[in-house]
């Protein structure tokens, strides 16, 4: 189910709110049921997969909790949890990619490619696998107590507000809330406001920018101007899409008493790539830091190992986003820039320039990475880079792109997006204080976004594919 859909806003959400507040007991069980309905709405069969991932980590976490620290049984249970979780992720997300690459090798050696077994990618699998795995690891490290019941744990894994596209909620940040959490009018109202702002970001800004970016990336060729215009549109689309989802998730969480951590902090105001990764998809960066970078040795084993660790983490982070070489290169690009800045003492090459210039350069560096992120293949990414640097010209009907792009509506919306994205105060901060004028603005935005949703085609969130 998609948050920005009629069925969610007008049927699923009110029913769950009603049931949740009408029945003050077994609330986690209720949320678990609602979350399975929410997830199963896309394809009921994959609820079974989520249940199995949950069960495996629950059992392994239990064995870990009951075993002595340092015992073989404890280690074996952790290895089992990691193997099962990553095995599922590997099969559903990377098996087709692996087959294609093996086929390419076979063809390269003059063989005949074998038929590729197609596997459907369950939406949000990367998120719920990471979350369920975080439980086993946290319990193994002694950072969290074992969960009190299976229903609580399954509720944590499946919790519908952040199930599909994050923020990634780690078990140790939510364990206490699963047992006891505060419900208050303030919290509910604040959650409502954040949900509405996220909803508006997705409907009014992200979808509008997607309508600009899609034809540019889909074009056979494009002018330099079109390429930059389309790329900026994509940068705004992905930010408002993903941060809008996170805002909605955090807002919904608050409606049900949960507090999730902030996931975005004005990322386009970053003045270096290191700074960017402190502000973009914070829950993923911290997850990778705590569960991959630090176990690899972090920065404790000398500079060279630190650079290598950063690159490995970003490569795997890239691969986490999608089973494709473009994501690997995207990760490598960020890994290289992070390692380079680390080599310079966490300073960018342009650290001595005025802040506005640093922000602009960082934004352009991030834009280049979005070319890789958005292009389906490396060849198409290469062609797009050629357009950006005016190394190709728009041929044939590609001239007509201008008619689609430079409408007064698109120009106005692009300006609005830039204005909002480059603000220091984002929705997460803005809803902390509420006045009557703000309240009226929030409600007007909600009504206007709903009316706009009615004329839009279904626009799933970009991060659903991850």
């Amino acid at each position: 189910m998609v948050f920005t859909s009629h069925i969610f806003v007008f049927y699923f959400l009110p029913l769950v709110i009603l049931a949740y507040y009408a029945v003050p007991w077994k609330r986690n069980l209720l949320l678990l049921f609602a979350s399975y309905v929410f997830y199963g709405w896309w394809d009921p069969r994959f609820v079974v997969l989520m249940f199995l991932a949950t069960l495996a980590n629950y059992i392994c976490g239990g064995i870990i909790a009951r075993s002595r620290p340092g015992s073989g049984r404890r280690r074996a249970a952790l290895v089992a949890a990691i193997t099962i979780s990553l095995g599922m992720l590997g099969f559903f997300k990377y098996f087709v990619f692996l087959q294609h690459n093996l086929n390419a090798l076979v063809v390269w050696f003059g063989g005949t490619p074998f038929p590729v077994l197609q596997v459907i990618l369950p939406i949000g699998i990367s998120f719920f696998i990471f979350q369920s795995l975080s439980y086993s690891i946290d319990v193994y490290r002694g950072e969290s107590p074992p969960v009190r019941s299976f229903a609580d744990f399954a509720c944590f894994v499946a919790l519908f507000p952040q199930l599909i596209a994050g923020p990634i909620v780690r078990y140790n940040t939510i364990a206490g809330q699963l047992v006891e959490r505060e419900h208050s009018l303030d919290k509910f109202a604040c959650g409502t406001a954040l949900f509405i702002l996220g909803f508006a970001k997705k409907i009014l800004l992200a979808n509008a920018m997607g309508a600009v970016a899609d034809p540019v990336f889909g074009a056979e060729s494009r002018t330099c101007l079109d390429a930059w215009f389309g790329l900026c549109a994509y940068a705004f689309q992905i930010y408002f899409d993903f941060s809008g989802y996170s805002d909605m998730a955090i807002g919904l969480g608050r409606m049900f008493g949960f507090e999730f951590l902030r996931n975005f902090d004005s990322p386009y105001l970053a003045d270096s790539i290191t700074d960017f990764w402190r502000r973009w998809h914070i829950s993923l960066s911290t997850f990778l830091r705590d569960y991959l970078y630090i176990p690899l040795g972090g920065n404790r084993k000398g500079p060279r190992r630190t650079y290598a660790n950063l690159t490995i983490v970003m490569l795997l982070g890239g691969l986490w986003h999608g089973a494709s070489w473009v994501f690997v290169i995207w990760g490598a690009y960020h890994g290289f820039l992070l390692a380079f800045e680390r080599w310079r003492g966490k300073e960018s090459l342009y650290a001595r320039l005025p802040r506005q210039v640093r922000v602009a350069i960082t934004f352009v560096l991030v834009l280049f990475s979005w070319v890789l992120f958005r292009s389906p293949t490396l060849a198409e990414a290469g062609a797009y880079f050629q357009s950006l640097f005016a190394l190709t010209r728009a041929d044939g009907g590609s001239v007509l792109l201008a008619g689609e792009l430079y409408t007064r509506g698109n120009m106005a919306l692009m300006a609005l997006c830039a204005l909002v994205a480059f603000q220091r105060v984002q929705a997460f901060d803005w809803v902390q204080r509420m006045s009557w004028p703000r309240l009226l603005l929030v409600l007007a935005l909600f009504v206007f976004s709903l009316l706009t949703m009615f004329v839009q085609a279904c626009n799933p969130f970009l991060y659903f594919q991850f």
């Binding site: 859909s5 009629h6 069925i7 806003v9 007008f10 049927y11 959400l13 009110p14 709110i17 199963g40 709405w41 896309w42 394809d43 009921p44 069969r45 009018l185 303030d186 919290k187 509910f188 109202a189 604040c190 409502t192 406001a193 509405i196 034809p215 889909g218 074009a219 056979e220 041929d395 044939g396 009907g397 590609s398 001239v399 007509l400 792109l401 201008a402 008619g403 689609e404 430079y406 409408t407 007064r408 509506g409 698109n410 106005a412 919306l413 902390q432 204080r433 509420m434 006045s435 009557w436 309240l439 929030v442 409600l443 909600f446 009504v447 709903l450 009316l451 706009t452 009615f454 004329v455």
Partner: protein, 374 residues
């Protein structure tokens, strides 16, 4: 969090009022109409992926709030932002364009696969017709943005290259494979004749349509495929005023009210001696297959003023036709396969399809075997 109690209450109540109010009012409305609330449909079917999608679509289309607000939101988006909806692009000087037509010109053609390769489908069809001694003449109709790109964007004013290289490539490949082709796009693009397409519509104007009919008729004569017939037709002015399909696609009466209907000076074809309106003759030697470019003026208002009527006038003989809106790539041949008697006595099949169907043809480009000739 700093929320005063009244603000917290007001926000919560307003939000709940909206999210609960909409489904409740929908249910009440449906009950008042004596209908079962649509939401209950969910429990009447097995919750498979397909059934859930279907339920969601029907819930959307049944919602009064959506039905009532959509035309007005479309109006706001059009007047404020210049956005003309999912299928329409608003160009310059009051011209509208069909978005897939532009998309066809802008995007690369995907690699042809099974059932999506026009060349393979056309060659297979030609082979079937060859076996029956029938000549195939292929006539791709250029899309409006290929001929009037400058009405979509000023940038096209300085552009001299053709907008539709994919169409031209297909035509070259067809010619190389021995298929008889009429290239209307080269003719239209360089034409001095004004107004070959309608500003508000995705189709050609009566002038453009007649120019196409004249060109095809001349081609058939020059190739010796058809001899001038003995039926004399004349034309009768039949002007109509119509709102173009591109404006109607927005499904917004308030937007429609912004535009005056476009005057279309169509001309009906009548038999010169009796004055009766032109009618197809299924027994004709010429069969014309095509899409809405054949339907316009012929099957809709004013009638008997479309491509087939004017082709018949030029040929001096009636023609037979199979017309399917948007279905010229495959559906017309499927209809022919179901009714093979339409091919009896035929010498020529003229196959028109709009160029965007090279990529977006309904049901792709399936190879449709015809029943063996009796």
């Amino acid at each position: 969090m700093q929320y005063s109690r009244p603000i917290g209450i007001a926000l919560t109540v307003a939000f709940l009022f909206i999210v609960f109010g909409m489904p409740l009012s929908q249910g009440v409305l449906e009950l008042a109409r004596g209908e079962r609330p649509h939401v209950l449909e969910l429990f009447l079917h097995v919750p498979t992926k397909a059934n859930l999608r279907q339920f969601e679509r029907e819930l959307d289309s049944a919602a009064w709030a959506i039905q009532r607000s959509r035309p007005w939101m479309q109006f706001v988006q059009f007047t404020v932002l210049g956005h003309a909806g999912r299928d329409t692009l608003y160009g310059r000087n009051g011209w509208f364009f069909f978005r897939p037509g532009v998309q066809y010109l802008v995007e690369p053609l995907p690699a042809p696969g099974q059932d999506t390769d026009p060349l393979a489908a056309i060659l297979a069809f030609k082979a079937e017709l060859d076996a029956r001694g029938i000549v195939l003449v292929v006539v791709p109709a250029p899309g409006k943005p290929s001929i009037y790109p400058e009405q979509l964007t000023r940038r096209a004013l300085d552009h001299t290259e053709p907008m539709n290289p994919h169409t031209l490539t297909l035509l070259t490949r067809l010619r190389d494979a021995g298929v008889d082709v009429v290239d209307l796009s080269a003719l239209f693009y360089g034409s001095e004749r004004p107004g070959l397409y309608l500003a508000q519509d995705s189709h050609w104007s009566p002038e453009g349509m007649d120019y196409a009919a004249e060109t095809v008729a001349r081609h058939l004569f020059e190739r010796g495929l058809v001899k001038p017939g003995g039926t004399e037709y004349s034309e009768r002015p039949a002007p109509v005023e119509r709102l173009g399909d591109l404006i109607r696609m927005m499904q917004s009466p308030p937007v429609e009210r912004l535009f005056a209907p476009e005057r279309v000076d169509s001309r009906q074809v009548v038999e010169a001696d009796s004055g009766t309106l032109y009618e197809d003759d299924p027994a004709s030697e010429v069969l014309v297959l095509g899409d809405s470019f054949l339907r316009i003026y012929q099957l809709d208002e004013p009638g008997a003023a479309g491509f087939t009527a004017h082709l018949a006038r030029r040929l001096g003989r009636p023609v037979a036709s199979v017309i399917n809106d948007g279905g010229a790539s495959t559906l017309v041949r499927q209809e022919l396969a179901r009714n093979p008697e339409l091919l009896a006595n035929k010498r020529v099949v003229v196959w028109e399809f709009v160029e965007r169907d090279i990529r977006f043809g309904t049901e792709g480009w399936q190879i449709v075997p015809l029943p063996p000739a009796s």
